[in-house]
Amino acid sequence: MASRIVSLKVNGQNEEFIVGALTSLQDILRDTLNYTSVKEGCRQGGCGSCSVIIDGELRLSCLTPVQEVDGSEVTTLEGLNQSNSIAALQQQFIDKYAAQCGFCTPGMMVAIQALLDRNPNPSRDEITEGLAGNICRCTGYLPIIKAVEGVVAEMSGASGD
């Protein structure tokens, strides 16, 4: 299988690369473009630390061959940092102590953003479901779920806990 030229829009920037058949999006984002918020907890689809949004959908960049997403728009946490909704989520993470070692946090942020994009008012079950692909070994998840609930409450105008 041959190398080919692939173009992507990453965090609003047009990028072009020559990539091998199975080069992962993770390697391109981390090592070629230096988007280091994309973590490598397992490189095998088991942890969610490499989560990104591709054309509006939550995906694991480690299991995504770049050639297969030719022409797509890719958003990492660096891209989300610029939008307003993520600022509220970040403050909630700080207030609720939803990060300890922080290694899962970028992937969590991205997964939560993808969840809120498709469902701005998720129930606790829907939040849990939305984060089911993201492992956190430190927090025990509850602070993360509470941070999401806090954002949801803020967005719907209710006073969050």
């Binding site: 490189r43 970040q90 700080i94 300890q100 922080g102």
Partner: protein
């Protein structure tokens, strides 16, 4: 003064790097960018116990992208190490790169350094090692039997010898046998736990970067024991610590799983040999199979108990599975001794804490080293005692909880006792109704209540 008026005590403290965690800007060791970086992969033993007859690296050396291949013959200083040698723990029993024998499945044998991780991996798979398989032992009690396969020559009976020449770390206090004879009940059981992988989300790893011509190397590492890693690396490579600069930082989860000190020495050697930056990062599979886990424990407890609930004697024999090498297990065994017989005042105590060697992955620290398995065993035992004598388990613990000034079995007086108050607070939270005399109990006065 109420807690809310205090500025520090009782107030939450914000994590130093929380602000950058949420933006993804926290720098972990592998977020360091260095040009022309090489990648190291390890060829590992496929047997839990075998003689090494021959190591053939010729095919690996000529594999695409390979820059350097390291075996035990390339080690400039020591071939064996122990991570705590710098603080007097020994002997140094663990091979840096295996020679003569492998003693666990996954042991490091040959390091292959190449331009890309894939090339290093492909070449590592081409290393050929001829083995003669030896009988292996995987169970603590089997390992202690006469005629069991001997794991290392350092320990002919497969157990550690503590510095005072004892087979166990020991506590001897009062006379347990005499007390057993006087007790109304004897309650005995055996408690066992399995190994547990710490599974931090970020795997073990480091990047070693040569800093110009005078041999200095900077090592970016996620080790939990930066000073130990530095000492061990200098020792193994035979260089003064002044040549090495170790930089830690935020660790992507450790839980004790990053004190093996395994990646740094060999990666630093690779950087020295190649003159280029080298990265060694465990795959998830290596993290699960190769990095050390919490050890398996076997805790045998025998209690002598009176009808009124007082535990008058406790005898404990503990076996800790160290795996093939010592690492920090003797420390864990001693800490276990310090933790037992739990937060209770017992006038007669006998403890033997034994470190056993098997052909399993070497074990090491994990959250509450030596303590967790002990607490599990103790508290299940407390419930069993309560059941045996027909007493409420809360009341049993309150009766036996240590009080200020009590003499502990380690010959040290209890200071700052808070066990009674803790149990009472927990009872309140759990909605547990205790009789009034128990509610009046106090850590400061055994007669209260």
């Amino acid at each position: 003064m109420a807690i809310k008026d205090l500025k520090i005590v009782g107030q939450p403290v914000k994590l130093r790097d929380l602000d950058t965690h949420v933006t993804g800007e926290t720098v972990y060791y592998e977020d360091i960018r260095v040009p022309r970086m090489l990648h190291l992969k390890m060829h590992r033993s496929i047997y839990p116990h075998a003689k090494i007859l021959n190591i053939d690296t010729s095919e690996a050396k000529s594999s695409a992208g390979v820059v350097c291949v390291l075996t035990h013959e390339d080690l400039p200083g020591k071939k064996k190490y122990n991570g705590l040698a710098g603080v007097g723990v020994g002997p140094e029993d663990e091979s840096v790169l295996a020679f003569e024998k492998v003693r666990w499945k996954g042991e490091s044998v040959v390091a292959v350094i190449a331009e890309t991780p894939k090339q290093a991996e492909a070449a590592a798979a081409k290393v050929k090692v001829d083995y003669e398989e030896l009988p292996a032992v995987f169970d603590i009690m089997e390992a202690l039997k006469d005629g069991a396969p001997v794991v290392t020559d350092h320990w002919p009976n497969n157990h550690y010898i503590f510095p005072d020449n004892h087979r166990a770390a020991q506590v001897r206090y009062g006379d347990v046998e005499k007390a057993f004879a006087e007790a109304d009940h004897i309650v005995e059981d055996v408690y066992q736990t399995q190994p547990i992988e710490q599974a931090p989300l970020e795997t073990n790893g480091c990047i070693a970067v040569p800093e110009g011509g005078d041999g200095r190397i900077t090592v970016y590492s996620n080790t939990q024991g930066l000073q130990f890693s530095l000492d061990v690396t200098a020792d193994i490579l035979g260089v003064p610590t002044s040549k090495l600069r170790f930089i830690g930082g935020t660790v992507g989860g450790g839980f004790g799983g990053k004190v093996d000190l395994q990646p740094e020495p060999i990666t630093t050697l690779a950087a020295m040999r190649t003159g280029r930056p080298v990265k060694f990062k465990y795959t998830r599979e290596e993290e699960m199979r190769v990095s050390s886990s919490r050890s398996a424990w076997r805790v045998e407890i025998k209690d002598g108990v009176m009808n009124d609930g007082r535990i008058i004697a406790r005898k404990i024999t503990t076996y800790q599975d160290s795996g093939a090498y010592l690492r920090f297990s003797s420390y864990g065994g001693m800490k276990h001794c310090g933790h037992m017989p739990g937060p209770y005042t017992i006038p007669n105590v006998w403890i033997d804490s034994i470190v056993v060697f098997t052909n399993r992955t070497p074990s090491n620290a994990m959250r509450g080293f030596g303590v967790m398995a002990g607490s599990f065993a103790l508290e299940v035992q407390m419930d069993k005692v309560a059941e045996t004598i027909g007493m409420d388990p809360w009341e049993l613990r309150l009766i036996n909880a240590y009080r200020e000034g009590d003499m502990k079995s380690h010959q040290k007086e209890v200071e700052d006792a808070g066990m009674v108050e803790t149990i009472l607070a927990a009872a309140k939270l759990a909605g547990k109704q205790l009789p009034e005399e128990f509610q009046k109990m106090s850590s400061l006065d055994r007669k209260a209540g």
